[in-house]
């Protein structure tokens, strides 16, 4: 069963190559994101949509991405990207053992458990 997952990922690599080609044509193309790209991104995000939902998301994402295009008007040559509000350096602490959650309370919210572990559907056939 697990192999089916991998197969679908590699099948989608094809879709990705296609989208990269599309990206190059983007400037003269008014459509920001197509239905098949929405389907591909949904797969990456581990989501799935019905036909109608996919179409709605495609329209809405187009709207939003068209709006976001205004970023291209901002001059950013030589500006370093900012990833955090505060300049962060590594936050180190002494390597001392402190208390942590017990196995029991770690498992308390799990949908399914067996023994001291989380239980999931079979991964390998």
């Amino acid at each position: 069963m697990g192999y089916r997952g991998i197969a679908s990922v590699s099948k989608n690599t094809g879709v990705r190559a296609l989208t990269e080609r599309k990206w190059k044509k983007r400037k003269e193309n008014k459509v920001k994101i197509r239905k098949e790209e929405v389907e591909y991104v949904a797969h990456l995000a581990r989501l799935e949509f019905g036909e109608e939902e996919t179409e709605k998301f495609t329209l809405q994402l187009n709207d939003i991405l068209t709006y976001i295009d205004k970023l291209n008007q901002a001059e950013t040559t030589g500006v370093s990207p900012m990833t955090h509000a505060m300049p962060l350096v590594n936050a180190f602490r002494e390597d001392t053992v402190i208390s942590s959650l017990s196995n029991e309370s770690s498992l308390a919210n799990a949908p399914e458990t067996r023994g001291s572990s989380f239980r999931v559907p079979k991964v390998i056939e």
Binding site: R4, L61, L65, S80, M82, L101, S106
Partner: protein, 485 residues
């Protein structure tokens, strides 16, 4: 006056003089909840018995002459804050049964200060929204007009304070989620500097933007709450190890000689005329108090919403990858295999707005698009932060409207995500730059809807914000109305 209408500082005085007990306050709050909660729906869950037990304990402590800053005061918590042993849903189906095994650091701090928890307040699912309409547990209504939204995402926390269903509350602010609902519900709301308050136990939305802060009935209460929740926490590596001043020391001071920046980009045509008029009156009030108001420019203001809707969804798409149906939360049934389980669980567990943002973020971070979107947005973000740094060389604080309009109608913007996003146009910049902001009531629209004025200051200048906000509150003489429910 009912006890549920009073502020923390008023109640503390009565508690310490033994005029009333904490049980009296908690009973008053729950009486009010019994009367109005059916109309407002500010809460996802109520903690009536725990609160009464907590109040009895607080009364005992007060008898003994002990008890902290908030001893016996009923407080509401946004349902995004992990609360040990209490269901914490984040407004989502995917966490509908989640019972955290630990307290958020701010929850622990409130407990230590003696606060009594009334309940967990409603919110937009995963704090994604500006109207509290995306909650899996139903819409919260604005206490001032039940056909209108309370703002969001912390709409429940704001409405609960406005409707006297608690004395104060905590919310979280990623793009305006404290300040905008505070403005729309006519209460005080503060977003502290990024790193000022620990985010440990705050369910993550966008980690570089999220910050916890208080909703209160006045500015003095805001200072009291900030004294309890601010400070370094070794459990949050982004919290900043810097001393916390006594925020109450900034109250009752004048602002003579201050310079207040009025960013011209925040006063453009198209703003609601009633909001504009109320904010202009606020400018006159601070000038009357001896502050000099100057025209300033924040040139990259126009890009804030666009930057935010790349950065926040990108961080969200990665933060929300943890909801996979394995360790906690909802799991879909009848799944073929692990991948099928992930997809079904997430598709059934998340609502439309959360999915939209996960999609937007995943797309922006995906191969081929990263530079065009995430990198570009992060560069423009740096320029927005520079704008503020430049501005604060010329002024002590900045004054703006909190929201471009008063509360809009329920359902008005749900079909048009972009219009919804644009309602955060004046609040997003503070999160992108990491600076603190406060919203204070500054009047009412013709329909009687509250309007808020926002003050912004440089990093770790919450004291300045409280100083000017308190000064403004004392001298603005805004008519003290209460919502009719």
């Amino acid at each position: 006056m009912e006890l549920n209408q009073l502020t923390i500082h008023e109640l503390k005085e009565k508690l310490l003089s033994r005029e009333i007990t904490s049980v009296d306050i908690v009973e008053s709050v729950f009486n009010r909840i019994d009367q109005v909660e059916g109309k407002v729906h500010a809460y996802i869950s109520l903690l009536r018995e725990d609160a009464l037990r907590g109040a009895a304990g607080a009364d005992q402590k007060i008898q003994e002459g002990a008890g902290g800053e908030l001893c016996g005061i009923p407080v509401a918590l946004k349902d995004i804050l992990c609360t040990k042993g209490v269901k914490t849903t984040c407004g989502s189906r995917i966490l509908q049964n989640f019972i955290p095994p630990y307290d958020a650091t701010v929850v622990e701090a409130l407990r230590r200060a003696g606060a009594v928890f009334v309940g967990k307040a409603n919110m937009d699912e995963f704090a994604m929204g500006s109207s509290t309409e995306t909650s899996y547990f139903g819409v919260t209504r604005n206490p001032w007009a039940l056909d209108r939204i309370p703002g969001g995402s912390s709409g429940g926390s704001a409405a609960a304070v406005a409707a006297d269903e608690c004395i104060a509350s905590l919310g979280s602010d990623t793009g305006g989620s404290i300040r905008q609902p505070a403005a729309l519900c006519g209460v005080v709301g503060m977003k502290p500097t990024y790193g000022r308050v620990s985010r440990f136990g705050l369910i993550a939305f966008a980690s570089s933007l999220d910050q916890i802060g208080p909703f209160t009935k006045d500015v003095e209460d805001c200072a009291i709450m900030m004294n309890v929740i601010a400070g370094y926490d070794p459990k949050d590596s982004t919290s900043v190890p810097q001393d916390v001043p006594d925020y109450r020391a900034f109250l009752n001071r004048d602002i003579a000689g201050w310079t207040v920046g009025i960013p011209r980009e925040y006063f453009r045509d198209g703003m609601d005329p009633e909001v504009s008029a109320a904010v202009k009156k606020a400018i006159a009030v601070v000038e009357d108090q001896g502050a000099r108001c100057i025209d300033i420019s924040l040139p990259h203001t126009d890009y804030c919403v666009a930057v935010y809707y790349i950065v926040a969804p990108a961080e969200a798409s990665s933060n929300l990858a943890r909801y996979d149906g394995v360790k906690y939360g909802y799991r879909a049934e009848n799944c073929r295999d692990l991948l099928d389980m992930y997809k079904k669980t997430r598709s059934e567990g998340f609502g439309a707005e959360v999915k939209r943002r996960i999609m937007l973020g995943t797309y922006a971070l995906s191969s081929g698009y990263y530079d065009a979107y995430y990198k570009k947005a992060s560069q423009v973000r740096a320029r927005i932060k520079e704008d503020f740094a430049e501005a604060f060389k010329r002024c002590d604080v900045i004054l703006t409207p909190t929201s471009p309009t008063p509360a809009f109608k329920i359902g008005e913007k749900t079909e048009d995500p972009l219009q919804m996003y644009l309602s955060d146009i004046f609040t997003i910049s503070a999160n992108l730059a990491g600076i603190p902001g406060i919203s204070v009531p500054c009047g009412y629209s013709g329909r009687g809807l509250p309007v808020g004025v926002q003050f912004l200051a440089g990093h770790f200048e919450e004291g300045k914000l409280l100083q000017i906000a308190h000064n403004y509150e004392r001298h603005a003489h805004i008519e003290r109305r209460r919502p009719e429910l």
